[in-house]
Amino acid sequence: MEMFSSLLCREHFVVTASPAPGQVLKGGVDKITVIWGLNQTLPAGTDSAYKTVKVKLCYAPVSQADRGWRKTKDSMKKDKTCPYKIVDRPYNSANKTSQSVEWTVKRDVPTATYFVRVYAFDADENEVAYGQTTDAHKTTTLIQVEAISGRHKTMDICSIFFSAFSVLSLAGFFYIEKRKGKRSQ
């Protein structure tokens, strides 16, 4: 499917994720377990075209506000909502009801609010069905991630040292200039 809107009637998966409400996941440290399964009320054979499944971490609207580079677009090619891949595996028709994956939140995942979405693909790599941990408005059961800062103590020390060095060496130069000026008089 080229447009996400055409997938809306095909929310075939039920997806849940492990974090409890209010829990904040730390980047690089904490794990998230995603469990998904085909909706049991669907008629048999609905999933006959599914070949692969991708599970992705997606931005919730609150983290997309005033950030055009994370915008949700209907065209799947241009959509920037779900940049982080949790897992990509072949669709297992033997075990439809309970697939799971455990994933450590990567260190380049930014601090934001997320939900998890599962896409099913057919043999031509087209999205044919989906499921997500949150409701249609993407406001419930959201996941908080707190990223690493990227800073290190060594870096802090170097910054302070070189800054002080710059200022002090300027003072040193001024002192030398003054002495030279006095001498030439």
Binding site: R67, D108, A147, G150, M155, S159, F162, F173
Partner: protein
């Protein structure tokens, strides 16, 4: 009253010089002290400041995720990066008049280096804004560059010297869009994670900045005859008062007009430096280093375009004098506005790149042309006028970013188009610049008796003239007679002029 230059043997110079010991030729590949050495020191240190000030934009796609920035945060930081220099440039101009460009620029560069080091440890949108704000102060070294060149090079080549020094310094804004993603990728390869790699990358511009300041202090000289302090102590250079320098600068309306128009060539250049990488990255879905490469080509055009503006200014001045300089400036800058409008309207990647490069050439040439005019506006307050013009450039950058590129009001393409319209409008005031001794765009010189001496000596009172404080201005007036253009060359000797009143 001692005669100048009697304290020491008159020094010999590698380049031919005029009566003020300013070089009358510009030899790019020479490093001869003091003239060409000053040129190379000033453009390299200015280049370093540009690299630092615009080091963040190419890495914004990473930084915005690490610091959780919104589009508004990014816009505010962009405005902050160019607003510090508005007043710093004016202050720098005055500092040059009083302490000399060598000390003034090196001090500023070393005092702003900490802001670049601290960028590595920024942790929020507030700290990011603050480091960009203070780093941006370093762009006021532009003023010391132009002042230094105007002190070292004579009228026939001052436009060229100013243009090349300014252009090659501005190059830093383009080079950084290439350098930073490259350094980032290298550090990533060594094994750091994204959110650490960009931080380490910032040490490169910071160290470069620090080292260039040392070079200026160790190898540079303020004037062909030596440094300000030693010359002042020996009585070879007079020390002027801040209040006088200030007064004669701000009461000269030409300085204000040039400040406005410079905001719409240089200010636009700064704005583009801040937004273009993200523009290409987001609009055309490019990779980080590809967007950086394209963004870089805008700033890299400076290697020839701004110098070409300076050269053009000197070339038209040979034939048409100051009037030619003004016309050339108006035409080139207006065309820059036209191409800016076109840039905002094209939709394909290829067309955008081509139009952007043409636009960059015109906009940067206009910057070079502006500083073909600035050295002639005032002699006493040269630094302050340079500072006002330079500061005006930054005001233009602040305004255009606030109006068109803050938050999500206009798409970037629409903002660019409107910015082009504003360029055309704000370039019109050049028509109002008038020199009694040379004329303006639409009028010739006021009368046969209006002279360069009248214009430049009107900045000194009779008491000051009695003390002989005006002698440098007198020399300059004589040397600036070339600005009449070729037609007037035969009638250059003013015999006994009745001093006419001037604006």
């Amino acid at each position: 009253m001692e005669v100048e230059g009697q304290a020491t043997q008159p020094p010999k110079f590698a380049l031919p010089v005029d009566s003020e010991n300013k070089a009358t030729v510009f030899r790019l590949f020479s490093v001869a002290a003091p003239h060409m050495r000053a040129f190379h020191l000033s453009w390299v240190s200015f280049f370093a400041c540009f690299v630092s000030t615009f080091a963040a934009p190419p890495l914004l796609p990473i930084i915005r995720d690490n610091l959780n920035l919104t589009a508004s945060d990014i816009g505010n930081a962009g405005v902050a990066s160019v607003s510090g220099a508005v007043f710093a440039r004016v202050a720098m101009g005055t500092a040059c008049d009083l302490f000399g460009p060598r000390l003034a620029s090196a001090s500023l560069i070393l005092l702003t280096a900490p802001a670049v080091y601290f960028t590595s440890i920024a942790s929020s949108s507030t700290s990011f804004l603050l480091v960009r704000f203070f780093t941006g102060f370093s762009l006021s070294t532009f003023v010391s560059t132009q002042f230094w060149m105007s002190s070292m090079f004579s009228a026939p080549v001052v436009g060229t010297a100013n243009g090349v020094a300014g252009g090659w310094g501005n190059l830093g804004g383009g080079a950084t869009q290439l350098i930073m993603p490259l350094v980032f990728a290298l550090i990533l390869n060594i094994g750091a994670v994204k959110f650490t790699a960009w931080r380490i990358a910032f040490f490169i511009p910071a160290l470069f900045q620090t080292l260039s300041a040392f070079a200026v202090l160790i190898f540079g000289k303020d004037l062909p005859d030596g440094n300000f302090r030693r010359l002042q102590k020996a009585g070879d250079k007079t020390k002027d008062k801040v209040s006088n320098v200030f007064f004669h600068g701000i009461t000269n309306y030409r300085g204000w007009i040039l400040a406005l128009t410079y905001g719409y060539c240089f200010g636009v250049e700064l704005t583009i430096d801040n937004i273009v990488a993200e523009y290409f990255y987001d609009r055309f879905d490019l990779k980080l280093h590809t967007a950086g490469l394209i963004a870089a080509s805008f700033g890299l055009a400076n290697i020839v375009s701004r110098p070409a503006g300076g050269v053009l200014s000197d070339v038209v001045a040979k034939r048409f004098g100051m009037r030619g300089r003004l016309w050339a400036l108006w035409i080139v800058q207006t065309l820059g506005g036209v191409f800016c409008i076109i840039l905002g309207r094209v939709g394909s990647l290829g067309a955008s790149i081509v139009v952007m490069i043409v636009f960059s050439i015109f906009v940067q040439a206009a910057c070079g042309l502006t500083f073909g005019v600035v050295p002639f506006v005032s002699r006493r307050s040269l630094g302050l006028i340079s500072g006002m013009t330079g500061g005006g450039g930054n005001v233009g950058a602040v305004l255009t970013q606030l109006i068109f590129f803050k938050g999500s009001k206009y798409s970037k393409e629409t903002g660019i188009m409107y910015m082009g319209v504003m360029i055309i409008c704000c370039t019109l005031p050049i028509c109002l610049i008038y020199f009694p001794q040379w004329g303006g765009m639409f009028c010739g010189p006021s009368s046969k008796s209006a002279t360069e001496e009248d214009y430049y000596l009107s900045e000194w009172t009779s008491e000051e003239k009695e003390k002989g404080l005006h002698l440098a201005s007198l020399k300059f007036a004589d040397n600036s007679r070339r600005e009449r253009g070729r037609k007037e060359d035969s009638e250059t000797k003013p015999v006994d002029e009745t001093p006419s009143t001037h604006v």
